[in-house]
Structure formats: structure tokens, C-alpha cells
């Protein structure tokens, strides 16, 4: 049994088949990249997993549990975190409180306890804060702790999104184009972090990415999609050599 599994997943908008009977599996501790031209259905697959869309058909399994019918907020509680292609941070809040929202799935306090800020809430806050600090250290975000998101540059925001997802201590992380909009140096940092995610934190990574150099550097396996269907699956080198993939990118 694999760690994470999608079985003939489909998403249709009327006659348009955004995702068409896609099946794949992710092994524990693996870095799997999904590539494909624009509109191939990569982000749609992520949105199906995090339940922003409801699949037309097909099932999703995580740790042998069927999560196809789980409400969206439960997906995070199961240990699947994600980042967004077009950054979705909480703009008018500080970096610290953005990261603390990432801890939401671990909060156990009740509303009335929070209104009185009982010792249990205070203790919980300190635990959250310590975890957040570890992530801040991991991703070198120390200079930005108290800054508002709305005043930060794009590259930093991208890292903060990754940090927020890490704060929830996920088992599986979905990265939607982690390098889009980053310069070469920042992309280099990102590739180190993605590898460290796995080696230091033991997180399994499922990633959508356009930058082939980043894909080659970090991925164990690659899936190529086009028009919602799987074209090829295998090691980065294999997939790039595959005639269908070459045709999809360069035209037949």
C-alpha cells in the first residue's frame, strides 16, 4: 500500500476535462514533481487534494484512509499542508501571526478559556511559539518576524508561505510552483530547503513546478501531464526523454 494514492481522479467543468482519470501514488519520504504545460491540470489536482474542488469521480487515499469526502479543514488536520501558486498569505497580519495560523490544527483550547487567557492557553501559545521559532530558524526568516506581510517583497512572501505550511508539522506537503517569481539565487535556496524538508523533517513532498532545473535537482520521480491526462511517469531524465512529453512542450 502506498502512502498517498489518487485513483482515476477526474474533474470536469461541463465538457472540459481539467483532470481526466489521473492515477498516481506517492511513497513515504519521496519528492514527486508534477510537470506539464499551462492548463494541463496540475494545480487542479492540488485543489482536488485540498478539497477546494470536489472531484467528479475517483478517490484519494492518505495513509490508507479514504479522504475524498473529508471537509477541507480536515485535510490539514490529517497532516497535509499546502502552498499556493499565487501567494495566499494573510496580508494585514504580521509574519509571526501568519505562521501561528499554521499551528491552528494543533490548538486544543476552547473559546471560553481563550477569553480568560487561562494558564492552559498561555502554555499552548508558548509551545506554538517555540515550534514557529524552529521553522523561522530553518528558513532564515529571523529579520521578518514582526513585519506586516503587506510590506514584504515577493520572494520573502514565497518563503513565508512555505514556513506557514511547515508550522502545521505536515506529513505530506503540497508545493504549488515554489519557484515561480523567484530569481536564480532564491530558487537555489528553495531547492536546498525542499531537500532538507525531507532529510531533516521527514516530510513527503508533492510539487508542481515549471522550472526544470529545480525539478531535476530535487525530484525522485516526475509525472508529466497534458490536457488532464498522465503522459509519462518516471525519473526526471526518463520523463524528459519521453517522446510524448517532448511533443507536448515543443509541438509535434
Amino acid at each position: 500500500m502506498s502512502y498517498f494514492r489518487a485513483e482515476s481522479l477526474s474533474l470536469h467543468f461541463g465538457g472540459l476535462k481539467a483532470v481526466d482519470a489521473v492515477s498516481f501514488a506517492v511513497e513515504k519520504g519521496e519528492i514527486l514533481s508534477i510537470i506539464g504545460p499551462n492548463g494541463a491540470g496540475k494545480s487542479s489536482i492540488f485543489n482536488l487534494i485540498s478539497r477546494i474542488y470536489r472531484p467528479t469521480s475517483g478517490r484519494i487515499f492518505f495513509e490508507d484512509q479514504d479522504i475524498t469526502e473529508q471537509p477541507p479543514y480536515d485535510i490539514a488536520r490529517l497532516g497535509i499542508a499546502r502552498t499556493f501558486q499565487n501567494i495566499e498569505l494573510f496580508e494585514n497580519a504580521s509574519v509571526l501571526s501568519n505562521l501561528l495560523v499554521g499551528r491552528h490544527r494543533h490548538s486544543t483550547t476552547q473559546l471560553w478559556q481563550e477569553l480568560l487567557f487561562l494558564p492552559s492557553v498561555r502554555a499552548g501559545e508558548k509551545v506554538h511559539r517555540r515550534r514557529v521559532e524552529q521553522v523561522i530558524e530553518f528558513l532564515d526568516l529571523e529579520p521578518y518576524r514582526d513585519k506586516l506581510i503587506s510590506g514584504l517583497p515577493y520572494g520573502v512572501r514565497k518563503v513565508i508561505e512555505l514556513a506557514r505550511a511547515l508550522c502545521s508539522e505536515p506529513k505530506l506537503i503540497l508545493l504549488d510552483e515554489p519557484s515561480s517569481g523567484l530569481n536564480v539565487e532564491e530558487t537555489g535556496d528553495m531547492s536546498f530547503w525542499i531537500r532538507d524538508l525531507r532529510s531533516e523533517l521527514g516530510v513527503t513532498v508533492l510539487m508542481v513546478e515549471h522550472d526544470m532545473s529545480l525539478v531535476n535537482r530535487v525530484s525522485d520521480r516526475v509525472i508529466a501531464l497534458n490536457y488532464g491526462r498522465v503522459l509519462a511517469m518516471g525519473s526526471p531524465a526518463e520523463v524528459q526523454q519521453h517522446p510524448d512529453v517532448v511533443a507536448a512542450y515543443l509541438g509535434a
Partner: protein, 383 residues
Amino acid sequence: MRFLFKTDYEDDIRLFPHSGYFVSYGLLLAVLLIAPYVLSSYVMSQLVFVCIYATVGVALLILTGFTGQASLGHAAFLAIGAYTAAYLQKYGVPFPVYFLAAGLLTGLIGALVGFPALRLQGIYLVIATISFAFIVEEILARWESVTNGNEGMRIKAVSLFGVAVSRDSPTFYFLCLAVLVLTIVGTLNLLRSPTGRAFVAIRDSETAARSMGVNVALYKVKSFAISAAITGFAGVLFAHKLSFISPEMFTLQLSIEFIIVILIGGAFSLHGAVLGAIFIVMIDPFLTYLKDDMPGIIAGIAATFGAGTQAAANVQSKVATFASLNGLKGAIYGIIIVLFVLFEPLGLYGRWLKIKLFFQLFPLYKRATFKRQKIYVKSERNR
């Protein structure tokens, strides 16, 4: 300028980041505590209204400022609190019991309003809450067996431990002040714990909040319930202060006044809610003063610049007619809102922060310091 050197996670959690806060808030509290023994009864009465409006302002801030759910129905929540108190008092229920009951009932109704509001956003939510307010107003006017209809209800003075507390006494003022302070402390506690952060997350990006494990529907309902409950508590005090309530007191105009409280105060800060409350309570006597004295002053100026007695009297009567036009007050409120949204989107509190920074950085303050923030806030509103 003070630089905080943080050495403990506690530094980010505690309410007063450094000892300076104890001094300034301690002084403020001392002033508020001796106020009733120094100030005139008229000013004290205004101060009680400031407390009540600020409490509602904080409640609205939780819903609109932090959770991002606009509401023009808070007059209805205030009414529900007030009428619950008046009704229960009629049957001899003691003050602490009906005070709590009014808050809980209003909170429950707030949660019920929250459910249909889950699917609505922006302007549609505003319309839904206005409709709710109209429905409540209509029910209050028609359900005569309970609310006494348009004749309104009298409410006797608060009875605490068997002693009647007059609505003009210092004790009543302390009661209102205590409710306000407890509301503010509770809200601050909420904001530094998971629930408050979930509220802010929902305001800024529902999608991201959901994928971080926030049950958006549940937290929106919670926000509605908390906001309504606090407004219900304020409603009890409001009823006692006026000693008479009737449906036409809880109109759309009142809901708009509450929006003005948070908009002018500064939509994202508790300081703003208090400043906004002071503003809204003061503007009424100020407008009355203008209405009474402006015609004479303008006529005087006209006479100084060479207008004859006849012409000056003419000017005076014309200005007086203008000042007593119907709806002038509403128009002035409208102009104030427009001016604030255009020129000071961060409200009175934002202005105060700038003044403070000016003195902290003197002589290095630059006007451009807040420019980006201001452009950002404006573009947010245009969306």
C-alpha cells in the same frame, strides 16, 4: 525611542510589552476613576454613552474589523439585549441574571444570523444584516404582548445587592466602565489566541485559512455570536441609561453610527473603537451648538464686513433655516465618512500613531513613511 529587546516568548504574548504601558494606562484608569467626583453630571452622562458605544464598537470590530464580515444590523442586537432586560425585569428577575440572559440570548440570535450569512459576502452580507435589523424593528413594534409595541417599555433602575443604582450615579458609570474594560481585555485575549488568529485569517484569505485547518463556517458563526453577545450586554446598559426604550430608537441610523465608530476610529484597532465612540458621542452636542450659535456668528461677521442691520438679520435667518433643515445631520455624517475614507483610511487612531511617530523621530519624520500603507489600504477598499 524605545527598542524592545525580546528575550522570552512571553514578550510576544503579554498585553503590556513594557513598563511604560503600566504608567500610561494606570494614569488613564486613575483619571477615569476620579472623573465622576470632578466632572459635571452632563459630562458624566456623555461618558456613560461613550462606554456603551465603545463596547458596541469593540463588538463590531470583532465581526467587521477582524473577521471581515460587515454588519449593519447591530442596532437590532442592541435592541434584543435592551428588550430582554426590560421584559425580564418586569417579572422581578434580578439584574445579574437578566444581564447574563440578555447577552446569551443575543449571542444565540447572532449565531442564528451567522448561519445564513455564511454564503454571503461584502455588499450582500450588508443587505442581509440590514434586512435582519428591519425584521427585528418590525417585530418589536408588532409583538405588543411582550414589547408593548410602539408605546415602548420603561425600565427601572439597576438593583445591585438590593440597592437601587440610579442611571446618573457614579456606580452606574463604573458598571458601564467595567463592562467596557472586560470586553476589551476579553477581546485582546481572543486576539492573542488561536480563535482570534483564525478570525484574521478568514478576513484576509478564506482559502488559505481553510487549507490551514480553520473551519471557516464554524469560526464565522462564532464571530457573529461573540459580537452579538457583547452588543446584547451593551444593550442592557443602554436601556438602563435611557430608562425608556421603543422600537424607533433602534433604527438603521443607529447601526450606521456604530459603523462610523469603527470606521472613524480606525478599522483594525481597539483604540480606534474607543476614539470613534468619543467622536460619535461628542458630535451630537457639537452640531447642536453649531446650529444654535452659527447663525449669530455668521451674521456678526457679515456686519463686521459692512453689511447693514437689515442685511445681517437677513443672513442670520437664512443660515438658521439652513441649519434646521431635515436630514442635515445625516448628510454631515455622510460627508465625515467620505472624508475619512479618502484622506485617513486608518482613522483617528492612525492619525494618533503618526503624531506619536513624529515626536519619536523628530526631526527626521517624513510624510512618505505611511504613503505605501495608505495607498495599499485604499486599493483594498476599491476592490
